[in-house]
């Protein structure tokens, strides 16, 4: 149940609970101390009277005279009850109550005893009169005198009742007030959360540049705000990439489709001889094949974006695959009078088909950009925690700004040379990168003085 409460309600509730417990404890403590204090006061008062009576008894030899003297000196004390007995004989009584029998067993050192007599609430004590010498013959040998006295504590009870009432009212009011304060404190304490919430509400697909206010929130929340900002940053980057990608797709598809459409409609506009039709259809077929390849490349990338499992895992000897691919590209290389060579060896664990595809894309790229009569070199070597496979060609230097973007989808360093001649859609290197990421590896490219070097880094399996 408490899980569904708002944070403010929860804090307010806890705060009120704590206040109630503290205040209640304080109230009980006050009431109890007052009660104990009254007992102490009463005891002192009663002991005081015991002393006084002892003194009078001491000084008075005659029982009759004693009663008169006691009457005289104790008359003004309201609510005080006294009884002096000698054996079974009552020498003096004041107040006219019957004391409980068990009182007779007590002495002045004991705590006063509480009891009720009808309406009255009484607190009393009893003691053997220890007069130094029983002058005046009030006692005869073998007889002792006992003084029993009590105090009406009605007024204390009244006071205590009032005190308890007042304390209860105070505790209730103070608890309510502190609850209110707690609510206010929680609300203002949580204000930064509301600020963040309002900020978060502003974030939409079109407004991904909103950020959490790090400086405006307390230190404890700054960390959270920072993490959220990092998340937003990543989302924004990915989202921008996705947007660019979709607009690139649209653009890449639009050109060939519009070519096809125009060409087809123009050819349909009048009768032509069969050879022309055949030519047009053949050219259309070529364009369609390009489109189909682009779509399957994009699907491949979309799949790897979702983090694919490698279909097969096996030991792949990189130099073997490289040699077999060089065989494939041999004719093109000879055509361009390029020398191809493989240096080094090393094997990795991965999907053979995908690795071949990654290497093939690098070779295709290198051959396309190599100057005639140069060498394209493929090296395999151990490096750090894994194996590097690099393809180096000599060609036009690549601008430093273009380097990191070469692996982006549809990115072409040379916009003007865009596609007609090269039949790739600008996805080859992106696919290579995706394959390497799927293998837990990485890609890198450097270009120094026309020597462009693409490297695939495979991390060795532990």
């Amino acid at each position: 149940m408490i899980r569904r409460l708002t944070l403010t309600a929860r804090l307010t509730f806890l705060y009120t609970l704590v206040s109630a417990v503290v205040l209640l404890g304080l109230g009980v403590l006050v009431a109890w101390s007052t009660h104990l204090h009254f007992i102490d006061l009463d005891r002192d008062y009663l002991l005081d009277k015991v002393q006084l009576i002892e003194k009078i008894v001491d000084e008075t030899p005659e029982p009759v005279e004693l009663a008169a003297k006691l009457d005289e000196s104790l008359n003004s004390h309201q609510g005080l009850f006294i009884s002096i007995t000698r054996g079974d004989e009552q020498l003096f009584g004041k107040g006219g109550i019957t004391f409980p029998a068990e009182l007779a067993a007590r002495s002045a050192a004991d705590q006063p005893m509480d009891w009720t007599d009808g309406e009255r609430q009484l607190r009393g004590m009893s003691t053997e009169l220890s007069t130094a010498q029983m002058r005046g013959g009030l006692t005869s040998p073998g007889q002792s005198m006992r003084l029993t006295l009590a105090l009406d504590t009605q007024h204390h009870t009244h006071f205590m009742q009032m005190l308890r009432q007042q304390l209860a009212i105070y505790v209730i009011l103070a608890t309510l007030l502190s609850g209110l304060l707690g609510w206010w404190a929680a609300r203002s304490g949580l204000a930064p959360l509301r600020t963040m919430r309002e900020r978060a509400l502003k974030v939409t697909a079109h407004k991904l540049d909103e950020r959490m206010p790090i400086d405006a929130v307390p230190v404890e929340m700054a960390e959270l705000a920072r993490s959220l900002n990092t998340m937003l940053e990543r989302l924004q980057q990915d989202f921008t990439k996705l947007m660019e990608f979709s607009s690139d797709i649209a653009h890449e598809l639009r050109t060939p489709i519009s070519n096809l459409l125009t060409q087809t409609q123009v050819s349909l506009s009048q009768h032509r001889d069969p050879d022309t039709y055949r030519d047009i259809l053949a050219s259309n077929a070529e364009e369609f094949q390009r489109l189909a390849r682009m779509v399957s490349d994009m699907l491949f990338l979309a799949k790897t974006d979702h983090g694919i499992q490698l279909p097969n895992r096996e030991d792949v000897a990189l130099e073997e695959e490289a040699k077999s691919l060089l065989d494939f590209y041999d004719a093109v290389a000879e055509d361009k009078e390029l020398r191809l060579r493989v240096v080094g060896a090393g094997s990795v664990v991965g999907d053979r088909l995908m690795i071949r595809r990654a290497i093939s894309n690098l070779l295709s790229n290198a051959l396309r950009h190599a100057h005639p009569h140069t060498e394209v070199e493929l090296t395999v070597e151990s490096e750090g925690d894994g194996i590097n496979l690099c393809v180096t060609n000599t060609g036009d230097p690549v601008e430093a700004v273009d380097l990191p973007r070469l692996f982006d989808r549809f990115y072409r360093a040379d916009k003007a040379r865009a596609h007609p001649s090269s039949d790739g859609a600008g996805l080859g290197l992106a696919i290579t990168k995706a394959i390497m990421l799927a293998h837990g590896g990485s890609v890198a490219v450097t270009s120094v003085a026309g020597r462009t070097r693409f490297c695939l880094h495979f991390v060795s399996q532990p």
Binding site: R278, D279, L281, A282, S283, N284, A285, E286, F288, Q289, A292, R293, V295, S296, D297, L299, P311, S324, L325, D327, F328, Y329, D330, A331, V332, E334, D335, L353, R356, R357, S360, S364, D423, G424
Partner: protein
């Protein structure tokens, strides 16, 4: 040779039908799985081309139904989804091949021919011959009109493929896969260059050009009709 196509996409079905008919096959087209299975059980088709996504009953179910009845005719799957799982599933169920849409017709035709050829094993020839071009598989030698032609190993492989399947238009992807074991979309330019070089060696200086490019489709080795 009778082929049954079960494909619910009308245009695709009709064009496949037309293409395969023109390639010399007797073709029957159905557009849903239930009819497809029924017809496949009734008829005596040499090959069934099955779309995976079909109304009524999907391609997997049709195949299962066929195999459950003990019908062992080859089945080629067509699918729009390229999932390794699907491929594995198809092959486990006893499909013979698997093509992902969009595919080129020449690719399909080449595969159909491969499947249909499989059953007919005869004596493996030691020499292949087309017109005056001869390829000796044992001695790995090629001669044209009695004149020796020097080929690299891969060129020999390429020519062998074209001669074995003379008269068939072979798409570039099939050539890349069969000769170089490149089973993914690659620079098709590579095949063009290789073919051009092979053509120089095989056809240059001869009246009759055997190696022909079929634009938009692929390559074929055959004696031209007009000569």
């Amino acid at each position: 040779m009778k082929i049954l196509i079960v494909e619910d996409e009308r245009k695709t079905g009709e064009y496949l039908c037309m293409g395969l008919r023109e390639a010399g096959y007797a073709v029957e087209l159905l557009n849903n799985g239930v009819d497809g299975l029924h017809q496949a059980l009734e008829g005596d088709h040499d090959l069934i081309i099955l779309d995976v996504m079909l109304p009524g009953m999907d391609g997997w179910q049709v195949l299962r139904g066929l195999r459950a009845q003990g019908r062992e005719m080859p089945v080629l799957f067509l699918t729009a989804k390229d999932h390794v799982d699907d491929r594995v599933k198809g092959l486990e169920l006893g499909a013979d091949d698997y093509l992902v849409k969009p595919f080129s017709f020449s690719e399909l035709l080449a595969r159909v021919r491969t499947i249909l050829r499989r059953g007919r094993s005869g004596m493996e020839p030691t020499t292949l011959q087309v017109a005056d071009l001869e390829l000796d598989l044992l001695r790995r030698r090629v001669t044209r009109a009695g004149k020796r032609i020097d080929l690299t190993a891969k060129e020999f492989g390429l020519l062998e493929l074209l001669m074995r399947r003379k008269g068939e238009v072979l798409p570039r992807s099939l050539i890349a896969s069969q000769v170089w074991d490149v089973n993914f979309d690659s620079d098709t330019n590579v095949i063009e260059v290789a073919m051009r070089r092979l053509r120089v060696k095989v056809d240059d200086g001869f009246e009759c050009r055997l190696l022909q490019t079929v634009r938009g489709m692929g390559y074929v080795l055959e004696v031209p009709e007009h000569s």
